[in-house]
C-alpha cells in the first residue's frame, strides 16, 4: 500500500509516539510527585477516599446517636455532646461527604467520558482537593476539641448568635464552610469549562453522556447557590466576631435574613447532592439493561429543568414564618412543577428496564435499592407538599425519616453503585461478587430498618434533635428497631470497604470493558494510562463504545491531529458541536496548589483563633503562590511575537 494513502487514512500511534506520550505524561513515583500531582485520576481517587473517610466519621457519629437513643432515658451522651454530634453528622454528610464524593466521581470520570486527557485546569483541580482535605480536617478537628458546631446543620439564627451560643462552635461552622466553599467553587468552574471545551471532536451536545450533563448542571447550581451560603456564613461570622448587626433585631437587623439566604442555597443543594447521583444511575442502569437509555432528550431536559426550577422552591422551607400567602403562591407553583422532571427520570429508567434485558449485577442491585428508597422518599415528600400536614410534622422524626430516604436513597445507593461499577476502571481489579451482594443486602435491609420506624415515631410525635426521651409514649420499640438497623447499615458499609480492599489485594485483573459499557471510559485501559487515550477518539454517536466508527477512529482510523504525542497536549473543541479547534498545552505537576491551600488553612485558622497576624501571613502566602503559579512560562522571542 502506498504510504501516502496510509497517512491519509491514518494509523495507530507507533512505538515512538507511545514512548513520547509516556515521557510527557507519566509521573515518576516519588514524594514530590505525590504532593505535586495534577492527574485528574489520582485527584479523583483521593477525593473519593477522603470523602469516604469523612463519611466514616459522620457515620460513627450517627451510630453513637442511635446507641444513645436505643432506649429511653439513656446516659451515654450528654445533651451538649449530642448537639455537637447531630450537627457534625448532618453538616459532614451534606458538605464533606455527598458533594465531594460525587465531585470525586466527576473528577475521575468527566475527562474519560468526554475523551480528554485531563481537566481544563489541572492545577486548580489539585488545589481544590487540598482545600477540601484541609477544610474537612479543620471541621472534624473541632470534635475532639469539644468545640464542634452545635446549632444543627442549618444553624438558625438567633440560636446561633454570640449571646445564645458563645464559644468557637459556630465559628468552626461558618469558617469551615467558607473554606470548603472555595474548593467546591473551583471544582465547579473546572467541570463546566472541561465539559464545554475539551470534549473529543464530534461529541456535540446530543452525544454527551448523561452523567456529564448532570455534573455540569450541578456545577452551575453550585456557582449560583453556593455564594449565597458563603455570604450568609460571612455575615454570621462578622456578627459573632466583630459585632456587626445583620441578625440583631434590637439594632435593626433581621433574623429571617439568615433563613432566606440559607434556603436559597439549601433547596438547590438537595439537588446538588442528588443530581450527580442520578447521573450515576443513568450511566449504570442502561448498561445492565443492555441498551441505550430511553428518552435521552427528555432526561437532558429534566436535568436542565431541575437545575433552574430548584431555585424557586426555597420559600417552602419557611412555612412557619408568616409571609403573605400570595408570596407562597408564586413559589408553590415551582414546588409542584419540579416533580414533573424528577418523575420523568424515574419513568425513563423504568422504561429502559422494561425494554432491556436485565443483568442483575452488584451495581445494578444498588440501583434498584436506590429506586425503591427514592420513591418512598418522594411519596413522603408529596405528603409534605400538603401544607397542613407539613405544619404537623415539622420538626418531628417524620422529617428525619423523609430526608434520610431522599438522601440515603438519592445519594448513598447511587454512590455505592458507582463504586462497584467503576472500581475495575479505577483500580484495574475486579471485586468479589459475593461480598458485594452481602454488602448490598445488609445496607438495604439495615437502611429500611433504621429509617422506616422513624416515620412511625415521628407520627407518634417524637421530636427531632432530642438527646433522650421519656419511656412509655409508645416510642421505645421504634427507636430500638432504628438503632438495630443503624448497626446493620454500619456492618454493610464496612463490608463495602472490605470488598474494595479485597479487590485491591486479591482481585483478578480487570479487563478494559468488563460490563460492555457504552461511554468512552471503557474504550481505554483499566486503569487508564496517565494520558488516558493514546488517540483522542472522534465521536460519532451517543454510545461511542458500541459504535464501530468511533472505535475505528482510535485504531486504524487514527490521525496525527488526534494523537498529539509531541508534548503534554489535549484538544480544544467548540462548545456546542464539538468541532476541532486546536491542541492546547497542559501544565505539569507542581506543588504550588498545595502551598496555596496551606496558606488558606493559615488564613482560616488565624481567623478562628483570632491570631490575625497568622491570617495575614497566610493571605500573603496565598497571593505570592498564586502570582508564581500563574507566571507565564518563558517563551522564545519568535514565540512571544514582540514588536518592541
Amino acid at each position: 500500500m502506498p504510504s501516502s494513502t496510509a497517512a491519509a487514512r491514518g494509523t495507530r500511534p507507533g512505538p515512538e509516539a507511545m514512548a513520547s506520550l509516556t515521557r510527557h505524561w507519566a509521573e515518576a513515583p516519588s514524594l514530590r510527585t505525590w504532593f505535586g500531582t495534577v492527574d485528574h485520576k489520582r485527584i479523583g481517587r483521593r477525593y473519593l477516599v477522603t470523602a469516604a473517610v469523612f463519611f466514616g466519621f459522620a457515620g460513627a457519629s450517627a451510630v453513637a446517636m442511635r446507641t444513645q437513643l436505643a432506649g429511653p432515658e439513656a446516659g451515654i451522651l450528654s445533651p451538649r455532646e449530642y448537639n455537637q454530634l447531630f450537627t457534625m453528622h448532618g453538616t459532614a454528610m451534606i458538605f464533606l461527604f455527598s458533594t465531594p464524593m460525587l465531585f470525586g466521581f466527576g473528577n475521575f470520570l468527566v475527562p474519560l467520558m468526554i475523551g480528554a486527557r485531563d481537566m481544563a485546569f489541572p492545577r486548580l483541580n489539585a488545589f481544590g482537593y487540598w482545600v477540601f482535605l484541609f477544610a474537612g480536617l479543620f471541621m472534624w478537628a473541632s470534635v475532639p476539641a469539644g468545640a464542634a458546631p452545635n446549632g444543627g446543620w442549618f444553624a438558625y439564627v438567633p440560636l446561633t448568635d454570640e449571646r445564645n451560643t458563645p464559644g468557637l462552635h459556630l465559628d468552626v461552622y461558618t469558617l469551615g464552610l467558607l473554606f470548603l466553599g472555595i474548593s467546591t467553587t473551583s471544582g465547579a468552574v473546572n467541570f463546566i469549562v472541561t465539559a464545554l471545551k475539551l470534549r473529543a471532536p464530534g461529541m456535540s451536545l446530543n452525544r454527551v453522556p448523561v452523567f456529564v450533563w448532570a455534573i455540569v448542571a450541578t456545577s452551575f447550581m453550585v456557582l449560583v447557590a453556593l455564594p449565597v451560603l458563603n455570604l450568609d456564613n460571612a455575615l454570621l461570622f462578622l456578627d459573632r466576631r466583630f459585632d456587626t448587626r445583620f441578625f440583631e433585631p434590637e439594632r435593626g437587623g433581621n433574623v429571617l435574613l439568615w433563613q432566606h439566604l440559607f434556603w436559597i442555597f439549601g433547596h438547590p443543594d438537595v439537588y446538588i447532592i442528588v443530581m450527580p447521583a442520578l447521573g450515576i444511575v443513568s450511566a449504570v442502569l442502561p448498561v445492565f439493561c443492555r441498551r441505550g437509555i430511553v428518552g435521552y432528550p427528555l432526561i437532558v431536559f429534566s436535568i436542565v429543568a431541575i437545575a433552574i426550577i430548584s431555585f424557586g422552591v426555597w420559600v417552602h422551607h419557611m412555612f412557619a414564618t408568616g409571609l403573605p400567602q400570595l408570596s407562597y403562591g408564586f413559589f408553590s407553583a415551582a414546588s409542584t412543577v419540579i416533580t414533573i422532571p424528577s418523575g420523568l427520570q424515574i419513568f425513563a429508567w423504568l422504561a429502559t428496564m422494561l425494554v432491556g434485558r436485565i443483568v442483575v449485577s452488584v451495581p445494578f442491585l444498588f440501583v434498584v435499592g436506590f429506586l425503591v428508597t427514592f420513591v418512598v422518599g418522594g411519596v413522603t415528600g408529596v405528603m409534605f407538599a400538603l401544607t397542613a400536614f407539613d405544619q404537623q410534622t415539622t420538626d418531628t422524626y417524620f422529617v428525619v425519616a423523609h430526608f434520610h430516604y431522599v438522601l440515603f436513597g438519592g445519594a448513598v445507593f447511587p454512590i455505592l453503585a458507582g463504586v462497584y461499577y467503576w472500581l475495575p476502571k479505577m483500580t484495574g481489579r475486579m471485586f468479589s461478587v459475593r461480598l458485594g451482594r452481602w454488602a448490598f443486602w445488609l445496607v438495604f435491609v439495615g437502611m429500611n430498618l433504621t429509617f422506616f420506624p422513624m416515620h412511625v415515631s415521628g407520627l407518634l410525635g417524637m421530636p427531632r434533635r432530642v438527646y433522650t426521651y421519656p419511656g412509655g409514649l409508645g416510642w421505645d420499640p421504634w427507636n430500638l428497631l432504628a438503632t438495630i438497623g443503624a448497626y446493620v447499615v454500619a456492618a454493610g458499609l464496612l463490608l463495602v470497604a472490605v470488598g474494595v480492599v479485597h479487590a485491591l489485594r486479591r482481585g483478578a485483573p480487570a479487563p478494559d470493558d468488563p460490563w460492555g459499557g457504552d461511554s468512552l471510559e471503557w474504550t481505554t485501559s483499566s486503569p487508564p494510562k496517565p494520558y488516558n487515550f493514546p488517540v483522542i477518539p472522534r465521536v460519532h454517536s451517543l454510545h461511542p463504545n458500541w459504535d464501530p466508527r468511533t472505535v475505528e477512529s482510535t485504531g486504524p482510523g487514527a490521525t496525527e491531529d488526534r494523537i498529539l504525542a509531541e508534548g503534554r497536549t489535549t484538544l480544544c473543541t467548540s462548545e456546542l458541536d464539538g468541532r476541532y479547534e486546536r491542541p492546547v498545552e497542559m501544565p505539569e505537576e507542581t506543588r504550588k496548589p498545595l502551598l496555596a491551600a496551606v496558606g488558606l488553612l493559615m488564613v482560616f485558622l488565624g481567623l478562628l483563633l483570632a491570631w490575625y497576624w497568622v491570617a495575614a501571613a497566610g493571605a500573603a502566602l496565598v497571593i505570592g503562590t498564586l502570582a508564581a503559579w500563574l507566571w507565564p512560562p518563558r517563551r522564545t522571542p519568535q514565540e512571544a511575537g514582540v514588536a518592541g
Binding site: 481544563a120 468552574v189 463546566i192 456557582l223 455564594p227 449565597v228 462548545e575 492546547v584 507566571w631 512571544a640
Partner: protein, 206 residues
C-alpha cells in the same frame, strides 16, 4: 436586521449555526468566576434591600444623615473611566505593543489607587458619625463598601502582577490571555461599583 435576515435565521441552516463560538478555556474560567462573584454581590445588595425594607422608615435609622454624595460621585468619576485604559492595554497586547500595555496598566493603577485613597477619606468622615457596630445600617455600609474595596485591591494586585509579567516578556500577542483576564475582572469590579453607588448612596434618597 432586515426581516429577510430573520427569515433566513429561522431556517434550519440558520438555527444550527453555532454562534457565538470559539472562546478559550481561560475566557470561560474567568467568566464563570465573575458569575459567582457577581452572585455574591447580588445577594449582598439584595440583603441590603431586604434589611432596609424590613426595617421600615426612617432609613438610615437612628438619626444618621443621608449619605453625602459628593465624594462618592468623585470616586465614581475616578473608578468607572479606569476601565478605558485597561481596554486600551488589551487592544495593545493584541498588536504586540508592549508600551501600550504598560501605559494603560499604569494609568489604571493610579486611578484604582486614587479610588482607594478617596474611600479612606470617606471612611474617616463617616466613622465619626457611625461605625460598623452602631446598627444594621452601619454594618451594611461598611461591609458592602469594604468588600468592594477588597476587590479593587485584588484587582490592583493583578494589575501589578501583569506589569511585572509584561515587563519580562511573558505576555505577548500570542498569549494575550492574562491581559484579557485582568481586563474582564477590572470591568467587573467597576460595574459592581455602579450597582453599589445606586444601592448604598442613591437608593436611600428615593
Amino acid at each position: 436586521m432586515t426581516p429577510a435576515d430573520l427569515r433566513t435565521a429561522l431556517r434550519p441552516a440558520g438555527l444550527v449555526t453555532e454562534q457565538p463560538v470559539g472562546r478559550s478555556t481561560a475566557w470561560w474560567g474567568v467568566m464563570l468566576f465573575i458569575a459567582t462573584e457577581g452572585t455574591v454581590f447580588a445577594a449582598l445588595l439584595g440583603s441590603y434591600f431586604y434589611l432596609r425594607f424590613q426595617h421600615g422608615v426612617p432609613w438610615p435609622p437612628d438619626g444618621i444623615a443621608q449619605p453625602d454624595l459628593r465624594l462618592p460621585l468623585v470616586m465614581t468619576a475616578v473608578l468607572v473611566p479606569s476601565s478605558l485604559p485597561v481596554a486600551w492595554a488589551e487592544a495593545g497586547i493584541r498588536r504586540g505593543r508592549r508600551w501600550q500595555v504598560r501605559a494603560g496598566l499604569l494609568a489604571t493603577l493610579v486611578m484604582g489607587g486614587t479610588f482607594l485613597g478617596l474611600q479612606g477619606m470617606e471612611y474617616h468622615e463617616n466613622l465619626r458619625e457611625y461605625t460598623v457596630t452602631t446598627n444594621v445600617y452601619g454594618s451594611l455600609f461598611y461591609v458592602i463598601t469594604t468588600f468592594h474595596g477588597a476587590h479593587v485591591t485584588v484587582g490592583l494586585f493583578m494589575v501589578c502582577w501583569l506589569l511585572a509579567a509584561a515587563g519580562r516578556g511573558g505576555v505577548s500577542a500570542r498569549r494575550p490571555e492574562p491581559v484579557r483576564v485582568v481586563a474582564y475582572y477590572w470591568h467587573f469590579v467597576d460595574a459592581v461599583w455602579v450597582a453599589i453607588l445606586f444601592t448604598v448612596y442613591l437608593s436611600p434618597r428615593l
